[in-house]
């Protein structure tokens, strides 16, 4: 390999390492919010073989991603419209899902984050899919609003939305 190419290769490699390193060590708000919502999906998901204490701990962890006055409103095709107000009510609903469903896996393959001008709140559009009891769930579109509270991004509202209106 000629010396020039060697230096170019090293420079490109360093740039790539710097870019990904900076994103990993100093993530921006958008990356933080995405991580937060992915962690929320993980906490809401459960496997029926998990120990009851683990299920309870995950439900509490999921509630920790929410503001105390969170409002979750879910509706859509094939879904009975439901609304939960407040962190405690949502946590109870999550705990109830553990006893009703044999398993639940939620994923957000698409997340689009729109930061508000003040940098302290954000609106996120998400596609949610997954499996419940071995069956694929219908894809639903969600809109989250998040607020930054004590440095943490917390979910203030969740509602179903639709591309076609």
């Amino acid at each position: 390999m000629k010396p020039l190419w060697r230096w170019v290769t090293v420079a490109v490699a360093l740039l790539v390492v710097f870019h990904f390193g900076r994103r990993a060590l100093f993530p921006d708000n958008e990356a933080l919010i995405k991580r937060r919502l992915e962690a929320l999906a993980g906490a809401v998901s459960f496997d029926a073989r998990q120990a009851p204490l683990t299920l309870l701990a995950n439900a509490n962890a999921a509630a920790g991603f929410l503001t105390p006055d969170v409002r979750v409103s879910i509706s859509g095709y094939g879904l009975r419209p439901q609304t939960w107000n407040g962190r405690d009510e949502v946590r109870q609903a999550i705990e109830a899902s553990r006893s009703v469903l044999p398993g639940l896996s939620i994923k957000f393959p698409d997340l689009r984050v729109n930061m508000d001008a003040d940098g302290q709140s954000a609106t996120v559009y998400a596609n949610a899919n997954g499996r419940a009891g071995g069956q694929d769930l219908q894809l639903i579109e969600l809109r989250f609003t998040l607020r930054r509270i004590d440095g943490d991004w917390q979910v203030a509202t969740v509602e179903t939305t639709s591309t076609l209106h």
Partner: protein, 175 residues
């Protein structure tokens, strides 16, 4: 007398099968092939698998097709086009495949299962079964289209349809 150079030993057969006689050239071909596939499948022709019955009988559930992403570079979507609509959050989850029935600024309604555009019934030879759909008139905006599936034999409440922004229409169904 100069001794003639010994011919280079031929590579083993498995190497020829796997990476050819000239590995560098094979690598170049592979890179070009990968880049071409990426560009074509990402920006030109996106493969899709139909999931759902809302476009039946035109598109059966489970059928494989493709979306031509450059279709609307030269002209706007036309009535009757089957288009792919990107969800608000992004398109990694998939697209909605629907038929354009209403153009910008038009009024769309359903009356006794018939589709009305600006109050006039639209001839829709692709619709084979009609349920008694009824919907109050909806007017599309300047940058909006009205899309609906071909399966009108299902309950209107179970059928995903509505207005969509032009920017969310990413291409036309090709196959």
């Amino acid at each position: 007398m100069i001794p003639s150079p010994e011919p280079a030993p031929s590579p083993p057969w498995w190497q020829v099968v796997l990476i050819g006689r000239r590995p560098k050239r094979t690598l170049c071909r592979l890179v070009i092939l990968l880049i071409t596939c990426f560009v074509v499948f990402r920006f030109v022709l996106t493969p899709v698998r139909i999931d759902g019955i809302s476009m039946e009988p035109t598109l059966r559930n489970g059928r494989i097709g493709a979306v031509y992403r450059l279709a609307f570079l030269t002209h706007e979507p036309r009535r009757g086009d089957i288009v792919a609509v990107s969800p608000l959050a992004g398109e990694r989850s998939g697209y909605y495949l629907k038929r354009v029935v209403g153009l910008p600024g038009e009024t769309v309604a359903f009356e006794a299962g018939r589709l009305l555009i600006n109050g006039q019934p639209l001839d829709e030879p692709y619709v084979k079964r009609r349920y008694n759909w009824r919907m109050e008139p909806i007017t599309t905006g300047v940058e909006e289209y009205y899309v609906v599936g071909d399966n009108r034999g299902m309950d209107i409440r179970d059928h995903f349809q509505g207005r969509v922004l032009r920017s969310q229409i990413i291409g036309r169904r090709l196959l």
